[in-house]
Amino acid sequence: MLDFLLAAAAFVLAMVALGLFRILRGPTEADRMMAVQLLGSGGIAGLLLAGSARIPATVDVALTLALLAAFASIAFVMSAAGETER
Amino acid sequence: MTAPTIFGICAALLVGIGLFGVIISPHPLRKLLAFNLIGSGVFMLLGAVARRGAAAGMGGDPVPQALLITGIVVAFSATALAVALLLRLFNETGSVTLAADARAHPDAGDT
């Protein structure tokens, strides 16, 4: 079971990593934002899959990450959007 | 390979990448990012050393881990100070270069 969880974590992270090509290619800022958004939730999923079975406190780390990733992506979209609307 | 070895080598490469960035990036903000990469490489190396010191039922040596927490927060405060410096320079001159031939344009940043 642990091996399955680790493999799932690796798979999710690999998927998210592929999605990061959108940061490279763009073309618009909205696409970059989406890649970061996917990385946020994929990173949390990978963290939970890789850690929560072995180390219970990983859940707290994921909780912090969920809060701060929410904050970061909202602030990020605001600064990018604020720029285009000015 | 064990986790400390993998991430120790990753840390060494991060320091190399960061150093490269500090040298070649012409933009000060990019230099700042690169400097942060060097910093996180050093932190990661210390983290690998802490993991190697696992003993007495602890997953890692708590002394370097405590130093890391201190270090990460101080690195953030230094980054915030550097960003504030850059923004002030930009508001003052309209550019962020430190080159001697750059002319000052007051108020250029307010547009």
Binding site: I74, F76 | A3, F20, S40, P62
Partner: protein, 313 residues
């Protein structure tokens, strides 16, 4: 399987670091840096540094990323001048050689680390009972290496003084950072009302758990600062003017209380920052409670930046 996952994570971290360096636009580089910070959290979990993972997730993945992205947006017009100033090929080759050499030397050192590794974990474990806390990192931060933590709290205040002193004379004593024009009934104002209460509970929980489990005041304070910043960005609240007496008192209250308890130790326990027998846990908790609001306020104001305007909105 774990080794494969670790190698994959390390490769991803390196790829994002490289992207941060070589990306054409500063904005894209900063986005890469934000993603890099998020991934480092996973590295810390794999290295069994849960306390470090918490602070990295909060500071590296959150605050620093938002800080540099905000700066990149403001500095966008300087991109062209920077592009024109790129180094020539010979200088780039030299830079590759130099940084490659440094990385190779460091990697060689990593491979030559002594076995068995030196560790202070047994000493910490042997003396931890005297502190009354069950999280060894908290014991180190507030008992065995309390001097570091005290100086760190002071450094944060010094950095904030540095940021404030960058304000132009005409707005000295004013409010930092302009808010955004946000529709008060829009989605953003809505989420800025929903998220901070959850965040405050989570921040206090992480802080509270810190005595016995991974967590603590730095991690909690960072979450609190981020939530306040979100409310400010959404226009629900404003940053306080920096010349307010209460603000300055609140900023130094935490480090001052820490320092006072440390000084009291010279009388009651015979050394600076020593705790008398049996009172260690109470004093450690007192220091943590005193530091939390000051740290949250300092981190928030560091993010908000130098004062920029005088008038109240």
């Amino acid at each position: 399987m774990i080794a494969a996952l670790n190698i994959g994570v390390a490769a991803l971290v390196l790829a994002l670091a490289l992207f941060t360096i070589v990306a054409r636009e500063s904005f894209a580089a900063c986005v890469g840096f934000l993603a890099y910070g998020l991934l480092l959290t996973l590295v810390w979990v794999q290295l069994q540094g849960l306390d470090v993972a918490l602070i990295e997730g909060a500071v590296g993945g959150g605050l620093t990323g938002v800080l540099v992205i905000g700066a990149a947006v403001r500095l966008r017009s300087t991109q062209a001048a920077a592009d024109a100033a790129r180094l020539g090929m010979p200088a780039r080759m030299l830079a590759v050689l130099l940084s490659g050499g440094v990385a190779a030397a460091m990697a060689a050192c990593v491979l030559a680390l002594p076995d068995p590794a030196p560790t202070l974990a047994p000493q910490v474990s042997a003396s931890m009972a005297a502190t009354g806390v069950a999280n060894p990192v908290t014991a180190v931060l507030l008992a065995f290496r309390a001097m570091d933590t005290l100086l760190e709290a002071i450094v944060l205040v010094l950095a904030l003084i540095g940021v404030w002193s960058l304000a132009p004379d005409r707005v000295w004593g004013g409010r930092p950072a302009l808010g955004y024009d946000v529709d008060p009934d829009g989605i953003l104002a809505y989420v800025a009302r929903i998220l901070p209460p959850i965040g405050i509970v989570a921040g206090i929980y992480i802080f509270w758990a810190g005595a016995d489990h991974p967590g603590g005041k730095f991690q909690g304070a960072t979450i609190l600062a981020a939530m306040w910043l979100l409310a400010m960005r959404a226009g629900l609240t404003d940053a306080p003017p920096v010349d307010r007496k209460w603000l300055r008192l609140a900023l130094v209250a935490g480090p001052a209380a820490f320092f006072a308890i440390g000084l009291a130790g010279t009388v009651t326990a015979g050394a600076f920052l020593a705790y008398p027998d049996g009172y260690a846990k109470v004093l450690i908790l007192a220091i943590e409670w005193a530091l939390l609001p000051s740290l949250a306020l300092t981190l928030f104001l560091l993010m908000a930046g130098a004062p920029q305007r005088m008038s109240a909105p």
